[in-house]
């Protein structure tokens, strides 16, 4: 799974979170397993 700019991921093993700051084609792994995409939180925009 390619990594998309600005997407957030969470490691199912350690709970660590990742933010993609430069897009790429590789797989994102943490603790040896593929990380899960985090759904963005819906917050009203305050600025």
């Amino acid at each position: 799974m390619a990594s998309e700019l600005g997407k957030r991921y969470e490691c199912p093993s350690c709970g660590g979170q990742l933010l993609v700051v430069a897009a790429g084609t590789g797989q994102v792994l943490c603790c040896g397993v593929e990380v899960d995409v985090l759904q963005p939180k819906k917050l009203p925009s305050s600025d």
Partner: protein, 494 residues
Amino acid sequence: MDLSLILGMAADGFPDRVAIGSSDSGLTFAALHARVERLAAALPAGRPVVYVGPHGEHAATLLFAASAAGSPFAPVNGRLPREQVVELVRRLDPALVVCTPDLETALNSTAPVVITTARLDDLEHVDVPASEPSDVAVLLYTSGTTAAPKAAVLTHENLLAYVMETLDFGSAGDDECLLLAVPPFHVAGIAAVLSNAYLGRRVVALPAFDPTAWLQAVRDQSVTHAFVVPTMLARIVAALRDNPTLAGQSLRTLSYGGARTPGPVLEEALALFPDVQFVNAYGLTETSSTIAVLGPEDHRPDPTDPVAVGRLASVGQVVSSVEVDIIDEAGRPVSTGRSGRVRMRGAQVGGSYLGTGSTLDREGWLVTGDLGHLDDDGYLFLEGRADDVVIRGGENISAAEVEDALLRCDGVAQAAVVGVPDEEWGERLAAAVVARDGVSLEPDALRARVRELLGSLKTPDQVVLREDLPLTATGKVLKRVLRDELVASLQPTT
């Protein structure tokens, strides 16, 4: 990681979108990024970069360039008295000062290099030795309503936590535009530049606030989002009351915050903008801006639901990345519904000041000067500043409650209440009131009306009619100045 990462991501993700300026001639994210990289190469690391001027392209460019260079960005209010501007700039010990042409002479001796905004793009090298890159991103003077201003320190980590924990990258539609009306030396002015770049939303800056100019800009620039401080909201409401045709159709979200918003102003604003989503943002300079949000649904509650209606007086729910609780005078957390001091902790909470270090306690809490309580669903209600309580004859009276009552009186535009020394009561309540244009007010009639609303204990002992109130640049009443002025006028020395 530094703040320029946000601009780098935006330039990568949406290079051709306009970052700042009008949709046909503004600066794109790619162009802003290129300008920032060029300027960052000219700046020495580790020494503050001061900016004294209006918000807009120059402020945004310097914020990102200073960050990329490893230098703190320090915007200062140029509208203060000259000696005070010079003093505030000197205290920062900057390497570079960028200012508007009218301030160049006054600021000339405050830093090794002082230039005007017109020469910013030609800057090739600042001749000051670089030091270690700083993890301080921004230095912001607090508003100093009750004490002298101090420079709050926000790190890259604090501000990035705020942006990245609360926003979804690139989620703005390409037709969205934010009208920036707060100055760069206000934390909301910094947060707006960072947040909107991260969202991919165009920003248009209003160099000086005026309600008619603000409404005009909304129409001309097809503005969809805006943030204002409460005094701006009150003036926009007054302008629309006089001329409803000034309202634009493009506005979708109107956020407000930065100080307590009087209930009557908000109620009228909701009626004047029936289709706009209102958002109240509560935060401090020290918390990298917003930590609690009252959302659009909360602003238009079911009128038959008293709990929902009551929440309109709250500042909403705390964002998930920050913890807030309420403590008593001994520092112990109190139960839900009980009042006390508001404290908070989390990655976006700074709490350090230049020259004094961190004020956080051992567990990382920032104890604020705000009084409030939380309800069962985590809505935060503020009850005024701990130091904005008048103690009259042993009774604690919240100045904010009396101010709200005065604002409910016909013809009152602004009101501020302070305690002044009194031999019998310890302190007595003094109110300063500004009338709406063309209205003449009677102090005794105002006192009678407040007595009806709040009872005699909370009725001001004196009401003084004034042309204006002493305000900070972002519209907070300077109570320490007002108190001194009222004491001088009410108790002439013999």
